[in-house]
């Protein structure tokens, strides 16, 4: 148990502790912040003595804080995030409808940002210090300063407005037409991917540049391997490890980014749902979504950590010791 199993055990405990803290924080959003949540939910116009009392009862505000938390957590664990005060639709069923769009965007954007970054990052690292590396590095650095929504607008301007290649907004579900679905997802996914790509290129470049200096790359060259194999098999694979750790953070940025592109491209994902619920002051929905997104993020980071230890045999060593 001192090996991989033990480490996973410790990570699971840390994961549960963090999730608990996340749930407390999400819960406190409606409970502790200034102002009566019932008032906030009803809005300034809808307040009467009676509606206030019933809203407070519905929220369980007449119970002590700790009990309210446990009741709420019990519901959450059973998949019940409450129902919107405005539409009276259950938050979790609404979430289920919107989730596929966001997931598709995140998956596509991750693929784009990685696939596009790999050739530039590897080449830039291989040519470290030369003119082509400088240009790539400079562009990547400048790319860090361009917000997602600006990238999105530029893409719309070029690909949709000027060239009429792709739709500027709207969503076609995958089940309806895979091709149209891809077309509707392409621009938003690219908008999400490009700022991330800049980050990835920088990370990969510095890693590859360092790996190129290592003895085993020199040995690979001395073995007479072609450049392609030296770069991909010997320089990229060891470098891809820190790439994987960045991915965890990246998903966090992407989750934030989807909020923007979904609203910009009118895509029915959870980001749009979040903004709509905020604009309509639908606080139960906001609370449920925040909890859901944060939980997803924490779990994804956990999985990335695991993947990291699976990819690197040096970290995986624990398992071999355990089995010997």
């Amino acid at each position: 148990m001192s090996g991989l199993g033990g480490r996973i055990g410790r990570q699971v405990v840390a994961l549960l502790a963090t999730l608990l803290a996340v749930s407390v924080l999400s819960f406190l959003l409606t409970s502790l912040l200034p102002g009566d949540p019932a008032v906030a939910i009803l809005g300034p116009s809808g307040i009467t003595q009676q509606s206030l009392a019933s809203a407070r009862r519905a929220l369980g505000l007449d119970h002590p804080l700790v009990q309210r938390y446990w009741d709420w957590l019990g519901n959450v664990v059973h998949g019940n995030l409450g129902s919107s005060f405005i539409t009276h639709i259950s938050v979790s069923s609404e979430l289920r409808q919107h989730l596929p769009v966001t997931l598709e965007l995140i998956v596509l954007a991750t693929i784009f940002s990685v696939v596009l970054a790999i050739p530039f990052g590897i080449w830039s690292g291989y040519r470290a210090g030369r003119a082509d590396d400088r240009i790539i590095s400079l562009l990547a650095f400048a790319g860090l300063a361009v917000p997602t929504f600006v990238v999105a607008l530029m893409l719309i301007l070029v690909c949709a407005v000027d060239l009429h290649w792709l739709p500027a907004s709207g969503w076609v579900p995958l089940t309806q037409s895979p091709w149209q679905n891809f077309r509707s997802a392409l621009l938003p996914a690219l908008a999400l991917a490009l700022p991330q790509m800049a980050v990835n290129v920088r990370v990969l470049r510095s890693d590859v540049a360092a790996t190129m200096q290592s003895d085993f790359v020199t040995f690979a060259v001395a073995k007479g391997l072609p450049l392609r194999k030296i770069l991909f098999r010997h320089a990229f694979r060891p470098s891809s490890l820190s790439f994987v750790t960045v991915m965890g953070l990246q998903i966090g940025f992407l989750l934030g980014g989807t909020v923007i592109v979904e609203n910009l491209f009118s895509l029915p994902g959870i980001g749009q749902m979040l903004v709509q619920s905020i604009l309509s002051r639908d606080l139960i929905t906001v609370q449920g979504l925040t909890l859901f997104i944060a939980t997803g993020f924490v779990v994804i980071n956990f999985v990335v950590d695991l993947a990291y230890s699976l990819i690197d045999p040096r970290i995986r060593r624990g398992r071999n010791i355990a089995t010997v």
């Binding site: 040995f219 001395a222 073995k223 007479g224 391997l225 072609p226 098999r233 010997h234 490890l241 040096r314």
Partner: protein
Amino acid sequence: MTGTPVAATSRPDGTASADPLLVVESLTTTFGIDGSEFRAVDGVSFELQRGATLGIVGESGSGKSVLTRSILGLLRRQRAQVTGSARFEGRDLISAPEKELRGIRGAGIGIIFQDPMTALNPVMKVGKQVAEVLTVHKGMNRAEANRRAVELLDEVHIPSARTRAGQYPHELSGGMRQRVAIAAAIACRPRLLIADEATTALDVTIQAEILDLLDELRRDLHMSMLLISHDLGVVMGRCDHVAVMYAGRIVELGRTTDVLVHPMMPYTRGLLDAIPKVDDPAHTRLAVIPGQISPAHVRAPGCSFESRCALADDQCRAAAPELQPAGAERSYACWHPAGADGGTVPVDERIESTLGQAR
């Protein structure tokens, strides 16, 4: 070739060959650092016959590793300028295009580096690191190459080679890793094997094992070998010829026995004195050569060993001595060579006995 004192090495039996495997001529490697130039290798010339072994000895900074890397074109990515020539089987490696070199590296010339901890890719199974040489140079498919890789691991005496092939470098000991590197280097039956400080990072006992393995492989596979080390002791019993490098130049060269018994250059003498003697009383202080190689950019026009040499005089400070022949297969670069005036240097019994053991 006239004019340049080419130090010739020859076959083990002493007969010179018209068809040497490797001919290095006036090889110079210059690094540009912050505008100033640094000559890591400075006009090195030597020949290596088929089946012969040449030891290159010198302390760190003497340029031995840069020399081998220059020959194989491994410095092309660095900002190094390499001039002169290194003809391997008649083809000049220095001017060869990268593509041609790629076909020679790993196939015609195998090389092993100093540190087996870092020379193997940490995230790749060792069997595959051997097999990839075969797929590239021999056009084998993956299954064939993997099978052959196991045979090669067996050939370098790795026990239970099949299991080991599926393991990662960190699961192997240092000596084992160096054997893997050797297996990769000899996979394509190269005509030349370069061992660049191949045993320096290993324990003494393992050092001897690896050296014996190299010897065995060299004989069985009829390879020539360049054995590079900072340690004269490593080179002693295993090389037909030895070249002593100092500050980027060969300062003494000849048959191993001759050089060790009659060192002409004071630096070689110093290296010999630095070898611990078996019959020394315990806690004897080792003789050391005082100082270190002066950085190239502050080097004066004179002999680069001048500042550390007991025999140095005005002549040494004024001009650097050229490498000049002294009898058969022997050359040296010194204004005050020992034994040049006919006087004999006392033969060191220690060296004799070491040579005797190795033979």
